[in-house]
């Protein structure tokens, strides 16, 4: 069975009003364990809405969404919070680290919310901070480190709960090209270790690191690419071609 399964997801804002907007019309896809999926599309295509629904921050108007066999569209608010904490990891474009905590406590946050012991948290953090190269940043405040470093701390926070699915929302959107590459290779590395990743992005470069790319337009899945055995530059070219076709409203076959 797939890890994540979406069936005919539909999301309508201000239903019945004059200002009614159909953000998602009919979206179905599934993600297998160990997948690394990128979702691309123009602004307003419905990417963020889709991500919010998968993240249990929003609920679909109709359709079914299952993660680890749990039906997400019927969760109460408190159940959703618990579910997020236990099954999902988040990486945001704006890092969303808390200034009131130092980096270590920022990473501990989800575990503290799950009432884990301090020893448990320390054991979790040690290997993770090594993988991400942030051992020396832990005692500092988020305001004292660079954007790339912040994003690595944020990734550590997302991974420390061993989430079934890591959700990334434009994770490289606020970074320069050098840091972008570093973060993307971090994603690649953790995916190789078996972490399932779902990433929303504008950037073809970012998407080229994934194994699979979904294109969304006007609330529907428009196209789907698999990397397969292609090299990254070949795959990148295909993605760019797809995007051009998407923008010019052409059909891709």
């Amino acid at each position: 069975m797939s890890l994540l399964n979406l069936k005919h997801i539909k999301k309508v804002f201000s239903e019945g009003n004059e200002s009614e907007v159909q953000a998602l019309k009919d979206v179905s896809f599934s993600v297998e364990k160990g997948d690394y999926v990128a979702i691309m599309g123009e602004s307003g295509a419905g990417k963020s809405t889709l991500l919010n629904i998968i993240a249990t921050l929003d609920q679909p108007t109709s359709g079914e969404i299952r993660l680890n066999g749990v039906e997400l569209s019927h969760l109460s608010e408190n159940e959703a919070s618990k579910f997020r904490r236990e099954h999902l990891g988040f990486v945001f474009q704006s890092f969303n680290l808390l200034d009131t905590f130092n980096n270590r406590d920022n990473i501990y946050l989800p575990l503290v919310l799950s009432k884990k012991s301090h020893q448990f948290m320390e054991n979790k953090l040690a290997p993770l901070s090594q993988t991400l190269g942030i051992e020396n940043l832990l005692e500092r405040q988020p305001s004292e480190i660079s954007g790339g470093q912040k994003q690595r701390v944020a990734i550590a926070r997302a991974l420390i709960t061993d989430p079934s699915l890591l959700l990334a929302d434009e994770p490289t959107g606020a970074l320069d090209s050098n840091n972008t590459e570093k973060i993307l290779s971090v994603f690649e590395r953790i995916n190789e270790k078996g972490q399932t990743i779902l990433m929303v992005t504008h950037s073809a470069q970012a998407a080229s690191y994934a194994q699979r790319t979904l294109f969304i337009k006007d609330g529907k899945i428009y196209n789907e690419l698999y990397r397969g055995d292609q090299s990254r530059s070949q795959y990148l070219q295909k993605i760019i071609d797809s995007l051009t076709a998407l923008e010019s409203n052409g059909e891709v076959r």
Partner: protein
């Protein structure tokens, strides 16, 4: 004029911030006006006891103005963060600094004009009302009120100065930053506060010193000054301790891993630590305001509650005449005639003959006569025969034995040394129905009963005075008229003449106005406290909103958010009330001493009033807490 438009726009647009600011200032203006009008528009200061009341009123006025200025600044500072951003925007859009200064000036002038005009009108209305209720409640028939412009002028000037200071402060802040910083300031995170061990220790020393001074206040003429010194020390100490010790405490809590890494504590400790610099000062203010509410209420309520005791202490009979000789037959004749004239019947005549009381200090088992700021008691003696007659007792005393009657003093010594002689204290008697306060002085009376006249004279060689009293019956008005006429007829000065009805009226008026002031000050303080808490919660709500949103994405449920907020707000709320109760505990000895100046020695009344007041304060405090927590939660949870 664009500047005026922008200023008005700011005022009307951000109602949730400017409205409380205006309301709180209105309240300050109104209260200041009421105080000023009590001082300048009434005849309080004309009567002899009113002079004291007037002095207390002026102290109160200074206190109110200080608190008004401080809390206005505090509110301004909390609100300025959002303001700065807006001004930064204007600056980027091309307004010069001069333009910005004009906007600031206009904004504050608008605030000032609105507050003084409306506040003045409210003040006039309320002072009329307050005065009428004062009169009705306490039957202070001799008080009347006139209307002059003096208080209005003073209010206008005082608040002009406060607002001018705010404007200058804003200018100064504007000078320091360039438009880019101005723009970025609201989003720039604050650095974690450092611990200041030295300041923390200094704060505790100052606080301890203040407590020490307060505890050692003696009921002497110096009590007022000493109490004020204690207050100043405690104020400074509280601020230092709250600002520094709170940071150290939170850091220590953070180090304790098993405490810190719990969901509630994790969020609240880090949030509070992050903002402790402002929090500390705010908490200290709240704590001090609560303390002053308690002190003002307890002192004034005790006075009113103990007023009956006071008159009984002054004189055991309805009418009492203290003189160097017994009343002559013709004087007695005259009094009888006056009684007939006013349809008053006299009964229970009693004459107490004692040696003229001397002022002095009781130290250990030694009485020393002295009259200065250390003076605590008046000391006088009488013979056993008289005591046994008045009390219907059958004590026997040897020549070196005495009985001691010292209300308000727990004299547990076995002996008493006076004028080089040592006497064996047979008993500290709990009752003496002839006890009176000579000359209505503020010192505690001590009476020593000796075996005979000779020894009594040996103990206190002053000539005898005769306290001659009787009870009266008749209508209240008649008794009062009768008493006044007796005083006029005998040509005795008021300090040697006591009439429970005349006295009662005077005391009612005086303590009534003190209670009135106590309540007024308390209301002001409650409003100030509420206001500070409100501003704190609102500004922190806005600051924490982003954090809670992030945490909610990471998996903090609504229920947990509520719990975390409750834990955070509760800590913020409990600290000041604990501080206030602690302060009060140390202030009580001083209050007791100051109250003794008004001849109030009743510790039971004082304690009862204290407990009731603390209870009421905590309940109303909790209500404010619940209300503001809701405001905070609404801000944090709003998307």
């Amino acid at each position: 004029m664009i500047q005026l438009k922008l200023a008005v726009h700011h005022l009307t647009k951000s109602k949730s911030q400017s409205l409380p600011f205006i309301l709180s200032n209105l309240m300050w203006v109104t209260t200041t006006y009421i105080f000023l009008s009590m001082i300048y528009n009434t005849n309080i200061r004309e009567n002899e006891y009113g002079a004291v009341a007037n002095y207390v009123l002026k102290l109160g006025l200074i206190f109110v103005i200080l608190i008004a200025a401080l809390s206005t600044f505090y509110a301004e500072r909390l609100l300025s963060k959002q303001r700065t951003q807006e001004l930064g925007l204007y600056s980027m859009l091309g307004l010069t600094k001069n333009n910005l200064r004009q906007i600031i000036f206009l904004e504050n002038s608008l605030f000032y004009i609105i507050c003084t005009i409306i506040g003045g009108i409210l003040g006039i209305t309320f002072s009329k009302l307050a005065f009428m209720s004062l009169k009705a409640l306490f039957g202070a028939a001799s008080l009347h009120q006139t209307f002059t412009l003096i208080p209005l002028v003073y209010v206008a000037v005082i608040f002009a100065v406060i607002f001018l200071m705010i404007i200058l402060f804003d200018f100064w802040r504007l000078r320091k930053v360039n438009p880019i910083n101005l723009w970025a300031k609201a989003t720039k995170p604050e650095a974690e506060p450092k611990s200041h061990t030295l300041l923390a220790i200094m704060g505790m020393i100052v606080l301890a010193l203040g407590y020490y001074v307060s505890v050692t206040v003696k009921p002497t003429g110096a009590a007022f000054g000493q109490f004020i010194l204690a207050i100043m020390l405690v104020v400074v100490g509280s601020y230092l301790v709250f600002v520094t010790a709170s940071i150290s405490l939170l850091k220590a809590l953070r180090k304790n891993q098993s405490y810190y890494y719990k969901p509630n504590h994790f969020i609240s400790v880090s949030n509070m630590l992050y903002r402790m610099k402002q929090n500390g000062a705010g908490l200290a203010s709240i704590s001090l305001l609560c303390t002053s509410i308690l002190v003002a209420l307890i002192a004034s309520v005790s006075l009113v509650a103990g007023q009956k005791n006071l008159i009984n202490l002054w004189s055991p009979r309805d009418v009492q005449i203290v003189a160097k000789a017994p009343l002559s037959t013709s004087a007695k004749q005259g009094i009888n005639e006056l009684a007939d004239k006013h349809q008053v019947t006299m009964s229970d005549p009693q004459t107490v003959t004692v040696t003229t009381p001397v002022m002095g200090v009781l130290k250990g088992n030694q009485f020393k006569a002295q009259f200065n700021t250390k003076t605590e008691s008046t000391f006088s003696s009488l013979d056993l025969q008289q005591y046994n007659r008045i009390q219907h007792t059958h004590y026997h005393l040897r020549s070196n034995e005495i009985l001691v009657y010292a209300p308000g003093t727990n004299y547990s010594q076995q002996t008493l040394n006076v004028r080089g002689n040592r006497y064996q204290v047979k008993k500290q008697v709990q009752s003496f129905r002839g006890s009176f306060v000579y000359g209505h002085v503020i010192y505690k009376p001590i009476f020593v009963v000796a075996a005979n006249q000779k020894i009594a004279r040996q103990i206190n060689p002053q000539p005898n005075v005769y306290a001659q009293g009787f009870n009266t019956r008749g209508t209240k008005r008649h008794q009062k008229q009768f008493a006044s006429e007796v005083q006029r007829f005998l040509k005795i000065d008021p300090s040697n003449f006591t009439s429970k009805y005349v006295m009662g009226d005077l005391l009612k008026a005086m303590f009534g106005s003190l209670l009135f002031m106590g309540i007024l000050i308390s209301i002001v303080m409650v409003c100030a406290t509420t206001m500070i808490i409100y501003y704190k919660q609102v500004s922190e709500g806005y600051a924490d909103k982003h954090n809670y949103q992030i945490m909610s994405k990471v998996g903090l449920s609504n229920k947990e958010t509520k719990k975390a907020i409750r834990s955070q707000v509760l800590t913020v709320f409990m600290l000041p009330i604990i501080g206030a109760v602690l302060n009060l505990g140390f202030a009580l000895p001083a209050i007791k001493s100051v109250l003794s100046l008004f001849s109030m020695y009743d510790l039971k009344i004082l304690l009862t009033v204290s407990f009731v007041t603390i209870g009421v304060l905590i309940i109303s405090y909790l209500l404010i807490y619940l209300a503001t927590t809701n405001i905070y939660r609404r801000i944090v949870e709003k998307n």
